[in-house]
Amino acid sequence: MNRKTILSEQDMPRAWYNIQADLPNPLPPPLNPATGEPITPDMLSPILPMNLIEQEVSTERWIDIPDQVIERLLMWRPTPLYRAYALEKFLGTPAHIYFKNEGVSPPGSHKPNTAIAQAYYNKVFGTKRLATETGAGQWGSALAFACNQFGLELKVYMVRVSFNQKPYRRIMMETWGGKCVPSPSPDTNAGRKYFEQNAEHPGSLGIAISEAIEDAVTSKDTKYSLGSVLNHVMLHQTIIGLEAQKQLAMVGEYPDMVIGCAGGGSNFAGISFPFIRDKIHGKEIKIIASEPTSCPTLTKGPYVYDFGDTAQTTPLLPMYSIGHDFVPAPIHAGGLRYHGMAPLVSRLLVDGLIEARAYSQLETFAAGLMFARTEGFIPAPETNHAIACVIEEARKAKEEGKEKVILMNWSGHGVIDLSSYDAYLSGKLEDYALQDEEIAKLVKDLEKYPKPR
C-alpha cells in the first residue's frame, strides 16, 4: 500500500505543456476596451518583459523549462502524489482518491511554480525590480520568495484590510526581502487620492492593481507580475499535471476525473491541461473546476443587470449572461466577461471540455475539516472547494458502486489561514438566510457609513 508516489528529481518534466497548440478553437484575441481593436503584444510591453509576452501568445506545444528554473523548482518539486486512503475509508467509497500536494513549496501553495519562472524571465530580460498587488497575500509571498532567488527587488501593494488583519503573509514577504505596503498607499497617484482622504482606507483589489501597474509603468527597470489569469501563468503551472501523469502511471492508474478549485484558474489549469490534451485526443475523462457559490464565475457567469432591450426602456432584468449549460450569444463570446477567470479556462468551458461546479462556504469548510481530520493536512480555504467536489464525486461512486479514480489538485495548505477556520468552528460563518429584523438591524448599522453617491 503506497500512501504516496514520489517522482525522482531526474523524472521531473523538462518542458511545460502549452494547450494553445491543441485548442479546438483558437483563443480569440483580447480586445482593447478603448478602441475595440485586438490587444497586440506591444501593448503589454510597458508592464511585461518581451520573453514572457512571447510565451503569452505562443502556440508551440512544448516549451523547454530553463535550467535555472529547474534548479529552483527542485527545491520542492516533484511534489508527492498522495492516495487519500483515510478519506476513502471515512467515506466508505470504492473510489481511489489521489491528491497532488502543492502545499509543500516554501510559500505553501502552487503559486511559486509561475513566480519562479516569471522572476527568471524578468532577470534575463534585464528587469531589476517587480511590482505586484496581492489580496490574500499568497501571490505576494510566492513572488517575494522567487525574487529573492533571482536577486530582484519587489514591491507588493497589499489591500489594507488584509494587510492589517493577516500579518503573517506580510511577514513572509519581508522575510524573503520583499517590500510590502498597505494599499491605498501614499506612493502612487492611484493610491494617494484615497490615502489622503483617509489614511486608514480599507482598500480594494482594484486600487491595489492600479497602484502596482502605475509603479511598473513609471519606475525605472520595473515590470509587473500577475499570479493568475494570463496564458503564461497557466503554462508554468502545467508541471503539476505533467508530474501527476507520470506518478499515476507508476501506480498503474488513469483518472476518470480531474478536479481543481478555480479562482483565477491557474492551479486548475496546472493539474488539468495535460489531461485535457488526452481528452482532445479521445480519452474519456471528466474535468471539473470547482468554485464558490458566492462568486460563481464559471457556473453562473457574470451576474449583471442589463436593460431588456437596446432602447433601454424596459425595467432592469437580472440576467446570467453565461450559464452552465448555456452557450453564450456571440456578443458575449468575443470577449468572455469572466473578469477574474483565465481566458483559456473560460474558452475550455465554452468548448465543453471542462465543467464547473459551485459550493457554498459552509460546504467547503466542512469538506476541509473532514480532510484535515482524515488525511491530516489542513487545506487552504480555496483548496476546500476542490475537496468538496471530490467528496461529492466519491459519494456518488459509492452509490453507483464504481471504482472511480479521482485526481485532485491540493493547491495549498491553510496554516496561515487558520483565522477562517476559527470563524467557521465558532459558528461565525453561516450560509443561513437572514430574517427581516436582522436586515433592519443591518440597515441601521450601516447608517454610520457614507451614503453611496
Partner: protein
C-alpha cells in the same frame, strides 16, 4: 455579519462589501450575499434605482482589459 471573501482570502464584514468601491458596493456583492438576504432590495434602497443600475449594469471588465486600460491611461499622461 461575516463572509469569507475569496478575493481577499479572509473573513470580512458586510459593511466592507457594500462600501469598498469608493463608497459603492463591490461588483460581487449581489452574488455573495444573495443566498442570505434580499440584497438587491437592500441595495436598491440605499443606492436608489438609478444608482443601483449605475453600479451593476454593464459587463465587468476582464482583468486584462483593466490592465490595458490602466497602461493606456498612464501612457497618455506621460
Amino acid at each position: 455579519m461575516n463572509i469569507y471573501c475569496s478575493q481577499l482570502g479572509m473573513i470580512i464584514e458586510f459593511s466592507y462589501c457594500v462600501s469598498m468601491n469608493e463608497g459603492l458596493p463591490c461588483r460581487n456583492a449581489i452574488r455573495c450575499w444573495r443566498d442570505r438576504m434580499d440584497i438587491e432590495h437592500y441595495l436598491k434602497e440605499i443606492l436608489g434605482e438609478e444608482g443601483f443600475h449605475k453600479n451593476f449594469s454593464g459587463l465587468p471588465k476582464t482583468r486584462l482589459e483593466r490592465i490595458i486600460e490602466l497602461v493606456n491611461n498612464l501612457g497618455e499622461k506621460g
